[in-house]
Symmetry: C2
Subunit: 318 residues, 2 copies
């Protein structure tokens, strides 16, 4: 199988969205932006042995590579349109490629986004996806908009991906059902796209939790030049997490990352509007604290100040 056969066999499909004028197969892809919109662009690289285990199911690798990018667009309150795939492969293995393609397109189809181009090269297994979305000009939710008095929310549950990782490594033991659920959260995270879109006009700042709450909320605080107080007792933890809390403590829920939940801030006068729409979303939006003027992130554990054991994933930590 040569490079062009590989692309033709696994990755060439006619684009379905009207914004895509020309997809896979030329020097570049062509997009026709809708008037009055901004393009929103995000990219992530996943490396075997770093972002996914050697031997991980190809379906999951394809699914997650797209999911983490769509999660970034969701965190801007942007609607995804299409994506580019850069695939570095040690060899052209049809079984692996078929699984990868199935996982990738399973999520792409569910979100109605098109693969519009990319590049395929030989080398150590790695996947880069670059996703495009659109949002009406001026509506994208940045990290920099949090103001003192805003309430801080997270969607869903925190620490589920950490449970998946810890159950796989043998650090904790779970029932078969709980184990499968948390591993699915680690391997095939559901980007909070509809939630992110619904938060347009409500959230003052937003980020997705890829590196852990402490690190990612920290990015909002830095970009907004504010601080925060978070009440750890209000963290949304699953029953599975609570059952292992004596072993885990708070660190996996706030420091592991890979949750792909949204963390966002809402001005006090928009709290009622948020409450009014929250019931549409099964994951729930959970108030965990408040933005304050003084810089720094204070984590309260009852009457005590909690010091986190780990501050998010950093690829180049010394």
């Amino acid at each position: 199988m040569n490079e062009f056969d590989l692309i033709a066999q696994f990755f060439t499909r006619a684009p379905r969205r009207p914004e895509i004028v020309l997809g896979v197969g030329d020097d570049a892809a062509l997009l026709a932006p809708e008037p009055g919109t901004h393009l929103v662009v995000s990219t992530d690289t996943l490396i075997e042995g770093v972002h996914f285990a050697a031997g991980a199911p190809a379906f999951d690798v394809g699914y997650k590579a797209l999911a983490v990018n769509v999660s970034d667009l969701a965190a801007m309150a942007a609607r995804p349109i299409g994506f580019l795939l850069n695939l570095t492969l040690p060899q052209a293995d049809a079984a692996w490629l078929g699984g990868f393609r199935d996982g990738l397109f399973a999520l792409a189809d569910s979100l109605d986004v098109d693969l519009i181009g990319g590049d395929t090269v030989r080398g150590p297994l790695a996947v880069t996806i670059t996703a495009w979305g659109a949002s009406p000009a001026g509506t994208a939710v940045r990290r920099s908009g949090a103001r003192p008095g805003d309430r801080i929310y997270v969607s869903g549950r925190l620490g589920e991906a950490a449970l998946g990782f810890l159950s796989r490594s043998g650090a904790i033991t779970l029932s078969a059902e709980a184990r499968d659920a948390v591993r699915a959260r680690l391997d095939r995270p559901a980007p909070r796209l509809h939630e992110g879109l619904a938060l347009r006009g409500l959230a003052s700042a937003m980020i997705d939790i890829s590196d852990g709450l402490v690190a990612d909320l920290g990015h909002i605080l830095e970009a907004s030049a504010v601080g925060a107080e978070v009440d750890l007792h209000r963290l949304p933890l699953s029953d599975t997490y609570k059952g292992a809390f004596a072993t885990l403590g708070y660190d996996p829920a706030i420091g592991f990352g890979d949750d792909y939940e949204l963390c966002f801030t809402v001005p006090p006068d928009r709290g009622d509007a948020l409450a009014g729409m929250a019931s549409q979303f099964a994951c729930g939006f959970h108030d965990i604290g408040e933005i304050v003027a003084a810089p720094g992130l204070i984590l309260r554990d009852g009457g005590k100040i909690y010091t986190a054991g780990r501050g998010g994933y950093d690829h180049f930590r010394s």
Copy 2:
């Protein structure tokens, strides 16, 4: 140096182009497309040991990674605006990063394009760049527009990058001056951006020569459902190439690639217009043959049909 320091120290600059609403530092970048334009998007991955030698100067790696993407936009007759950088590094080496950044921004500044985002991860050295451009709706030059009777042109000289590679491997010996010139063509190719833009409305099909003339003209023929006859005696070869012709023959000029010259077709009634503007460009546009209705690529070497020894670079050749 952590991941965020690395980005802040080496890769964070305020965007200069008005289309860029938000650059490096949020979940995604924001672009405001000009009304009536299409966005043109291209991406390439360069792997150490495949696309550049282990130990290659970091400046050259940064320069070339952007050059090959801009070359794709040039081949669509699109003007570049910005790019994303995905950098996979074995370690955060400040000297390497400084050199890489200098090479990257040297070309970016000369083309007036902005770095708008990306991702930095740890792993085997690899660089993915995704470049955006714009073109007025309907003016992008695709691979699929060649018609029988169109003349086939290439810009500049073919086989210079091959000479650079062969001189480095010791397969040929050149004067110091000639050697430096051809290695510069290999290591720091100049994308034919102004030439590509000037061919808007003149070229019926266009591609950049990354995999060699035979392979890349082959893509035009396939996309356009036509054939071609090329006269090898008309290939634009440098005096250096001609001096080594007895050793080289035609294969390096048509099969090696990495030239990043443009290959394009022009309808016969546009030949005068092409001739009228060609004098603006020092590289020259060289008529090498004609598009024909019968599929296949015929290479004529005087009265003989030439069979190429190598059909372009293919990462997954069995």
